[in-house]
């Protein structure tokens, strides 16, 4: 479970999130939706421990992510970014193995045939799936209960999108707390158990 209590976050002197509180239940998928600039990714980054709040508190399973060192935090949550930069020519397998064993997650995300391809030579959708696979591998290896995904579906075709959603449902059913940022124009969020709407 994630608890957000009276959270305020500023970027460049501007309050992106102001006095925001919510509870995100475990064993469920929560979607954060809203227009561009409404602070969806900022909220996710704050939960991940990337952005220290000006005021307020975040707790993941009762633990304040900002009280942990990076290596401890990596056992509390796994996260994939919206636009993961791949500048160096590691293979897909190598990048996933930075987080944990790759074979199962590559099968789950239809990446097995790309295992030896350099990540610098992937399409947008493939690169997005590699980033998700890395987070899933970390989740399994470190036994994290929380998975945070920033717009994981934006570059996927319908088939891949459905496959990812089914995978997330399965993880939630097994007890994971999953938070997904979704661009509100993308689709109806019928697959989420809870929807948090951010506004400008």
């Amino acid at each position: 479970m994630i608890k957000v209590n009276q959270l305020t976050i500023e970027r460049a002197g501007r309050a992106i999130i102001s006095d925001f509180s919510t509870e995100i239940p475990s064993a469920s998928i929560t979607a954060i939706i809203g227009p561009n600039g409404s602070g969806k990714s900022t909220l996710l980054a704050a939960i991940a421990g990337d952005l220290a709040p000006i005021s307020g508190e975040i707790k993941i399973d009762g633990v304040n992510p900002y009280s942990l060192a990076a290596n401890e935090l990596a056992h509390l949550r796994a996260m994939s970014l919206q636009n993961q930069p791949f500048l160096m020519g590691f293979t897909v397998r190598q990048v996933i193995e930075f987080a944990g064993p790759a074979d199962q997650v590559m099968t789950d995300l239809e990446l097995s045939h790309l295992a030896e391809r350099q990540v610098t030579n992937l399409s947008g959708g493939e690169a997005q799936r590699v980033a998700i696979a890395q987070a899933l591998a970390q989740m399994k290896t470190n036994q994290c209960s929380t998975l945070l995904l920033d717009e994981p579906l934006s570059a996927q075709d319908t088939e891949s999108r459905n496959r990812i959603i089914e995978l997330l449902k399965k993880l939630a059913k097994a007890g994971a707390t999953i938070v997904v940022v979704v661009h509100s124009s993308e689709e109806k969020i019928s697959w989420a158990d809870k929807v948090l709407k951010q506004s400008l």
Binding site: S80, Q84, G89
Partner: protein, 326 residues
């Protein structure tokens, strides 16, 4: 075939080393016999072996220093000369000489050089981070500016030392192995060993930092600490090398790129291969520098640029997905 590639580099270094020991202004009689009988031949054992050893060590140091610079900055352009590290090492050594604490090419000069390199690199990173996030652009621009300032200071201070020291400083600043002694050879062997061990230790973190600071942090890397350690390794490696033999152009940039292109991006492997390729380029360059116009000697920096630049241009212009330039 791919598995054999590292052995080709090792074989090339061994062959180049033997060639470097064989050739020079003076002929070494009964080379193989002299090679296996220490002190049997003065030219071989007193001049060429120390010099060739220094070439191998400095080449390895600058190759790994370049790798640390590029890995820590996540930037293909980074190298000790661009980040102000080399100029800082020069300034440190010259200050030591100016105050009469150390002499050109001494162990003390290495210590002053390493301290100068550390301070200059730290200054560049501190200034680049002043406006928030550390961007590659500000790092490179500030590095060039700091480097130019420190190089100008070296020039100004050089006119304040005695004529004999000024001549040595001038000779050294263009890069030369003529100042290698047994004493400073031990000094740079120590700095290179410490810097290489540190580079090896943080190499896995640099693999993850190549995915960006945010992802590295999500994977559990303490990005700030890893970057700081990479800069310490870079400063120890480049500081030791530059304070002993002066600035060698281009090697820190070219060696890691050539290694990366041939062997891929994994940093632990690149620590070894950048060292080998740095040694290989430098030993070939030094052999050419002292034999082309023998008995006169050319500045080695000229040869490293002439050797390294075309290889680097060829590697970058052919299809290359090892480092994607955005």
């Amino acid at each position: 075939m791919k598995k054999l590639l590292p052995w080709f580099t090792i074989a090339a270094v061994v062959l180049s080393t033997l060639s470097a020991l064989m050739v020079g202004a003076a002929q070494v009689d009964n080379f193989w016999s002299a090679l296996f009988n220490p002190s049997s031949n003065e030219i071989l054992w007193q001049i060429r072996i120390p010099r060739v050893s220094a070439t191998l060590i400095v080449g390895a140091a600058l190759g790994i220093a370049g790798l640390m610079a590029q890995g820590a900055c996540n930037n293909a352009l980074a190298e000790p000369a661009i980040l102000g590290t080399s100029a800082g090492a020069s300034l440190g050594a010259v200050i030591g000489i100016l105050f009469g604490v150390v002499q050109v090419g001494s162990l003390g000069a290495i210590l002053f050089g390493v301290i100068g390199a550390l301070l200059a690199t730290a200054l560049v990173f501190r200034l680049a981070a002043l406006r928030g996030n550390l961007s590659s652009f500000s790092l490179i621009i500030i590095g060039i500016a700091v480097s130019a300032t420190l190089t100008a200071l070296v020039g100004l201070l050089s006119v304040m030392v005695t004529r004999a020291d000024a001549r040595s400083i001038s000779f050294w600043s263009f890069g030369s192995f003529a100042l290698v002694t047994k004493e400073n050879l031990i000094g740079i062997a120590i700095t290179t060993a410490i810097g290489s061990a540190l580079a090896w230790k943080i190499a896995p973190a640099l693999d993850r930092i190549s995915l960006g600071d945010a992802t590295a942090f999500h994977l559990g890397v303490d990005v700030k600490r890893s970057r700081y350690l990479a800069l310490v390794a870079l400063s120890i490696l480049a500081g030791g090398a530059v304070s002993t033999i002066g600035t060698i152009a281009f090697l820190g940039l070219a060696a890691p790129h050539i290694a990366r292109f041939i062997y891929g991006p994994t940093h632990r492997f690149l620590v070894l291969q950048s060292a080998l390729i740095g040694s290989l380029i430098l030993i070939i360059a030094d052999t050419l520098a002292r034999t082309i116009t023998s008995p006169n000697e050319l500045p080695i920096g000229l040869i490293t640029s002439l050797l390294g630049a075309p290889v680097l241009i060829a590697l970058v212009t052919v299809k290359n997905s090892v480092w994607k330039v955005q």
